[in-house]
């Protein structure tokens, strides 16, 4: 077979040593930390680039060592690479075209009705928010109108931010 008999000497496949496994893993954890850290430094406009570069380094570590690509038959690696080439072409061509057409598309962006809908929705929620009413509610002299539209206090602690 074109690509066979490359590794007869060590069994069916290469075996990773514990040191290597731990080492690679530590590196991955470290890189995760770094990427979070850099993200908080607001390095725009390079932030995206940096994030992608770090992610790619991590991906390479996983692929080459955890997935044994470094020791595997070269053809398997080639196959894997191929997928990124074609995915890349797909994304690149599609992006290039939509990018060129943005002017035409943006001309109608404001037509997203849903956004309008919930904006109105929220505006309504605040109409009778006068100071008096607020004070009353807070010191308890006014009964809370139960089942008001938007209450979700009990889940507040999960608020994403």
């Amino acid at each position: 077979m074109s690509d066979s008999h490359a590794h007869d000497d060590h069994g069916l496949a290469h075996t990773m040593s514990p040191q290597m496994l731990i080492g690679i893993w530590a590196a991955l954890i470290a890189l995760t930390g770094i990427t979070v850290w850099t993200a908080n430094m607001h390095l725009a406009p390079f932030d995206l680039v940096i994030a992608i570069v770090i992610a790619t380094v991590k991906a390479l570590l996983v692929a080459l060592f955890f997935m044994h690509l470094l020791y595997d038959r070269p053809f398997n690696g080639l196959v894997f690479m191929l997928s990124f080439v074609f995915a890349g072409v797909f994304v690149a061509f599609a992006m290039f075209d939509t990018g060129r057409n943005q002017t035409a598309i943006l001309a109608r962006q404001d037509a997203a009705p849903i956004v309008e809908a919930w904006r109105a929705d929220i505006a309504a929620g605040s109409t009778e928010a006068e100071t008096e009413h607020l004070r009353g509610l807070i010191d308890g002299s006014i009964e809370a109108s139960h089942g008001h539209g938007h209450g979700d206090g009990e889940h507040g602690d999960e608020a994403a931010h």
């Binding site: 599609a94 290039f96 939509t98 962006q109 037509a111 849903i114």
Partner: protein, 572 residues
């Protein structure tokens, strides 16, 4: 049986008559088929399923043509018409043309050609067949539960927000069929890579395997994108995803990019296997070594790869940017070159040959002519300003039917006739088979050639009704449809006749040298009775000579390695 025993007719004789055990009679009962791991039986089940689907799609086609025979709404209203052309397209593409050659013939032939006992992953193979069945069921559900009227292209936003037909069911069906196709692709790719016999390097493979390999590459790389696209479509429709629907700020043209990234390569999933079959038939029935083996092989791969960079030529009028259209048009022509190369090599193979006009060859010649027209008319559509005129007119309809039907379907029937003796162990009647092929050929051209004229006259496609000035050619076209129907019925009748009352097929009725002809017809359960013979040059046809006694070809020149092999084998 290993070819050495065929060395003399005498030893062949008793073998031919003995009712030996084969994959057909080794076990029986529905379950022994439906849950078999034997690639041969799976191939046959595909064959049956595909014929059934073809019948359904063909029925829709006839209904459409009948409606269009004259202007005005005659036998169906616009809604029904829209549903019929949609289901005709969807069924023919997803259930017939795409699986036709790879899943049916490929499953049967590929492992035997490799001298293997089975494909690399028999369970996966069975699984893809079961997926195919499930997908088909989803299509039937679509049919029952209110039909589908989006066109097989599912263009947004019509499919997401403007039709209340069974889009989701149909989309899921196509999604499942996609995975059936993917798994077949993976299976064939691995089988070809890892299970080639000793002495068969990539460049000693029969060209059929090259074609299958190229097809598998596309199935693996393109079909997943169809999967995600349809998934996004379903979610867009049911949950307002907002990627494709302009009402949510999405972009309908983006959907067309997603869709054609799969669906253009899919065109090559459909035609490459056809070319692969033709490469075998032409050589065998010209009694000549195939010409330009390497170029035919490489051109298949080239088509497979280039095919990925040309999808935008379906979108010249869609609102795609001029720059992108230009790039796509340029690359599009690069795909045309390998096809041209193949055609010329096939013709040169026939040159100074000994051309035997049996059914497979007649279908193959039909392929050359019809695919010739289909391919050439493609040039008008790859060229940008003529495409602006022809896009979404009957010219396109005629073009892709010449490729899909005149190309793939003709090759499919050629392949069926070619491997029929091997698959069933029965011979078919030659004369009716040839007549059937010719009738179909005439019918096909009467059916589709006028549609080029309609295209030139500016007749748009997907029209339930049309202006009176188009009536004449539509009528001609409809007449052709019925002639084609007659031809195909004759084919069916001919094949059934052979099953019921066909003569016993010899091991090698055509004198081909690929490995499947080195084993009895039909093959035993494990494909070869002993170890398969050494795989020499698949096109060394002069190793076989016609033997009038057995009415079959017998092996005359066992190659050196082979003899060596056999001695070694006896020693064990």
């Amino acid at each position: 049986m290993s070819s050495t025993t065929t060395a003399t007719p005498t030893t062949t004789q008793p073998h031919q008559s003995a009712p030996e055990e084969n994959y057909l009679n080794c076990s029986s009962g529905f379950l022994s088929w439906f849950f078999t791991l034997d690639h041969k039986r799976i191939g046959i089940m595909y064959l049956v399923a595909i014929f059934a689907a073809f019948g359904l799609g063909g029925f829709f086609a006839l209904a459409l043509r009948t409606e269009l025979a004259q202007a005005g709404q005659d036998i169906m209203d616009m809604n029904v018409y829209n549903q019929m052309f949609t289901l005709h397209g969807a069924i023919m593409v997803f259930l017939v043309i795409i699986p036709s050659i790879p899943a049916a013939l490929g499953n049967f032939v590929l492992p035997i050609m490799l001298g293997a006992k089975d494909v690399a992953f028999p369970r996966l193979n069975l699984f893809s067949f079961h997926l195919y069945v499930v997908g088909a069921i989803f299509f039937v559900l679509t049919l029952m539960g209110g039909g589908l009227d989006t066109g097989w292209t599912f263009y947004t936003p019509y499919s997401t927000g403007h039709t209340d037909t069974m889009v989701t069911t149909a989309v899921l069906g196509a999604f499942i069929l996609g995975f059936s196709s993917i798994f077949t692709g993976i299976n064939f790719m691995v089988t070809i890579h890892k299970m080639r016999p000793q002495g068969m390097g990539f460049f000693n493979m029969p060209l059929f395997l090259w074609g299958m390999y190229a097809t598998a590459v596309i199935q693996v790389l393109a079909t997943p994108v169809l999967g995600i696209t349809l998934l996004m479509l379903a979610i867009e429709r049911n949950f307002g995803l907002g990627i494709f629907d302009p009402a949510l700020g999405g972009d309908p043209v983006l959907f067309q990019h997603f869709f054609w990234f799969y669906s253009h390569p899919a065109v090559y999933i459909m035609i490459l296997p056809g070319m692969a079959v033709i490469s075998e038939i032409i050589s065998v029935f010209s009694r000549k070594h195939i010409f330009g083996y390497k170029f035919i092989a490489i051109s298949s791969i080239a088509i497979a790869l280039f095919g990925f960079f040309v999808w935008g030529h379906h979108m010249f009028t869609s609102g795609q940017s001029t720059a992108m259209s230009t790039i796509f048009s340029a690359i599009t022509f690069s795909v045309a070159v390998p096809s041209a190369i193949k055609i010329f090599n096939w013709m040169t193979t026939m040159y100074k040959g000994e051309i035997i006009l049996k059914a497979p060859m007649v279908w193959a010649l039909g392929f050359l002519w019809l695919f010739g027209i289909g391919g050439l008319t493609g040039l008008f559509l790859g060229t940008m300003n003529t495409d602006v005129y022809y896009h979404d007119t009957y010219f396109v309809v005629a073009h892709f039917h010449y490729v899909m039907v005149g190309g793939t379907l003709w090759a499919f029937f050629g392949g069926i006739y070619y491997w029929w003796p091997k698959i069933t162990g029965k011979m078919y009647e030659e004369k009716p088979a040839i007549i059937a092929s010719l009738v179909s050929l005439v019918g096909f051209n009467v059916l589709f050639f006028p549609q080029f004229f309609l295209g030139n006259m500016g007749m748009p496609r997907r029209y339930a009704d049309y202006l009176p000035k188009y009536e004449f050619w539509h009528l001609v076209s409809t007449i052709g449809a019925y002639i084609l129907l007659a031809g195909l019925l004759m084919v069916l009748w001919n094949l059934i006749r052979s099953l019921t009352s066909g003569g016993k097929a010899p091991q090698n009725p055509w004198g081909a040298n690929t490995l499947e002809w080195h084993t009895p017809s039909p093959p035993p359960h494990t494909n070869f009775e002993a170890d398969p013979p050494y795989a020499g040059d698949p096109y060394a046809l002069d190793h076989w000579a016609w033997d009038p006694e057995t009415q079959s070809y017998v092996h005359i020149a066992a190659s050196e390695q082979e003899l060596a092999r056999v001695e070694g084998h006896d020693a064990l």
